[in-house]
Amino acid sequence: MTSNLANPRRRSLIVASSALAAGPALFNIARAQAGAIKIGFPVPLTGAFSAEAQDQVRAAELAVKEWNAAGGHKGQMCELLVRDDKLNPGEAATRTLELIEKDKVNFVVGSLSAATQLSINAVTRERKVLFNSISQSDAINEAKDWSLYTFHEALNPHLTAGAVGRYAFPKFGKRVVYLTADYAYGHEMVRGFQRAGAALGVQTLADIRHPLGTADYSAFLPRIQALKPDVLVLCNFGRDLVNSAKQATDFGIKQTTKIIAPVLLYTSRLAGGADAFEGILGGTSYYWGMEDKIPSAKRFNDAFRKAYNGSVPSDYGALGYAGIKSVLQAVKDADSVDSTRVSIALRQLKYDWYKGPQFYRKCDHQSVQSVVIVESKSKNMKDKYDVFNVLAIEEADERNLRTCEEMGHKTT
């Protein structure tokens, strides 16, 4: 590189081309202020979580439509720029960089994996662009990854697992076996359960780790059967959860043991079918059926049904909606599209877009919110969307999060 720069002809070429590049860039900045608010939305449209990602896009587009229909802020409309990050951290970083440098987005909302959100955050943090992550992670709010521009709309494993444990352990028993996908997400979930369980005197009989993407769990199940735990916790996700739940059912484990999962997703339940998930209990950020109890959920569901042929939003989809709504509200409050000002407005925001009252904790920008405990239905389903019973809603409470000190933040 240095030898290239030392070459005088080459250097003049670079100077000339950067001057050319700077021209349109300056023009873009000028136009962006007058024109629409641009929000970049990198999500894995292809890959294992594509069904969830497409729902995130649908819900985010609804939020944008609502904003534009209401006339925006002083006439300033919003434009959503959806990009496919292919569930790959490198791809996510590249797309985010393009969104910021080429498309000149004002903010970034998105991601659907613990790993991609960290790589997106690394890019946005460095360029001081506000990022609101809509996917589960414990790490993103920890001091080492966090910045003034980092917000986390989704639940985190600690909070979700904790809520499920606090609900299930006192009801179903204290002797627990974990079947855990052997990667960061699985480990974080187990930690969350054990932390909640410690206060309740819960005993871990075994924590069996399986490789990510295992298709056949039968080899792990005789041991679990022999241990006869009160509760079996499936700390895995997506297809792994479907497969392990199905096979545990076949092995008759449900006869002696309650099966719970930290995260029971609407989309996984649809893919796995009623039989495999029968009686399994888990946590989720949102289930459309809470609309009888929560007025904002009813309003959101109705808007979604109207926009998308009567279908209901999924949990991750709803996060796409909330992620955009919060940022746009903060634009209004700050009367600016400057990331720093919008961040300060977001820190003050109290909101209820779809699931009851929420706010971002000051020290780490984690959205403090309720956790919904649901149980899978196999009987008396009204229609194809009717898959869960809402057992309980753990109200939003800062005390259920790890403390700011634990996250490495200095409290002021």
Binding site: D250, G252, A271
Partner: protein, 293 residues
Amino acid sequence: MEFTPSLLALQLVTGIALGAIYALLAIGLSLIFGMLTVVNFAHGAFFMVGAFVGVYFLGVTGNFWFSLVLTPLVVGAIGLVTERFLVRPLYGRGIDYPLLLTFGLGWVLIEAMRVLFGIEGVPSSTPAALRGSVDLGFGYFPKYRLFLIFATALVVLGLWLFLEKTRYGLIVRAGSRDGEICKVLGVDVARVWLMVFGIGTAIAGLSGVLAAPTRAVNPEMGIPVLAESFVVTVVGGMGSLPGAVVAGLLVGVVFAMTSLFAPAYAELSIFVLMAVVLLVRPQGFFGKAGLLG
């Protein structure tokens, strides 16, 4: 002590049930390789198509047994078309031509299922008659997995009778020994090969419909299965049917036992087994040396 004899016994049966599916897959792969010298990289995809077709027929007819019979016929028919129009023009061109072709075909089939059924996959449940578990004396074991062992034994027996006791089986065996001589003797070798490819893919489809109730049916489900069935085929000996059965069961048991004592190494264990076999006996348990040469 946590690892009681009854737990070990239950783990062993689990391993055999796992091995049954491995064996069934490897039989199809081995049959095609042994007779046609075609390394079929689309085998995992045929397995996956079998699972989808099976779930589809189950949905339409509501009868598991019906779909169990119909699915291999449909997948076998796809196999016949594949051999006739895609693989046949490549005979005599070296082993890597059909290998690359089937590799590509596998991806085409995956994409086709994504288009037809969506990327999420379809739910599949255990047929009502085989739900629940039975007490084996040392623990409860799912009825459906016992049925898997039984079904595999039946297929192996049927195939053996066909190859050893029927006239057609004799022609197939002769054709694989020396195609040229068979041709001279007036046997239509092309038809024999077509049939063998059809049977091999039909068995892959059958494994798919059999495995569907135990796992998630999605377009990518055949990818890990392909790797596992190659391990079994290599351990048993490329082209050997007894090898496929013995190695399939062995791989299942090794996997199950490693899962019990060191779950983190379960996946690795079958590849270690393959490496050891390759070092000690490169042609596998029952394989002929130099078949690929």
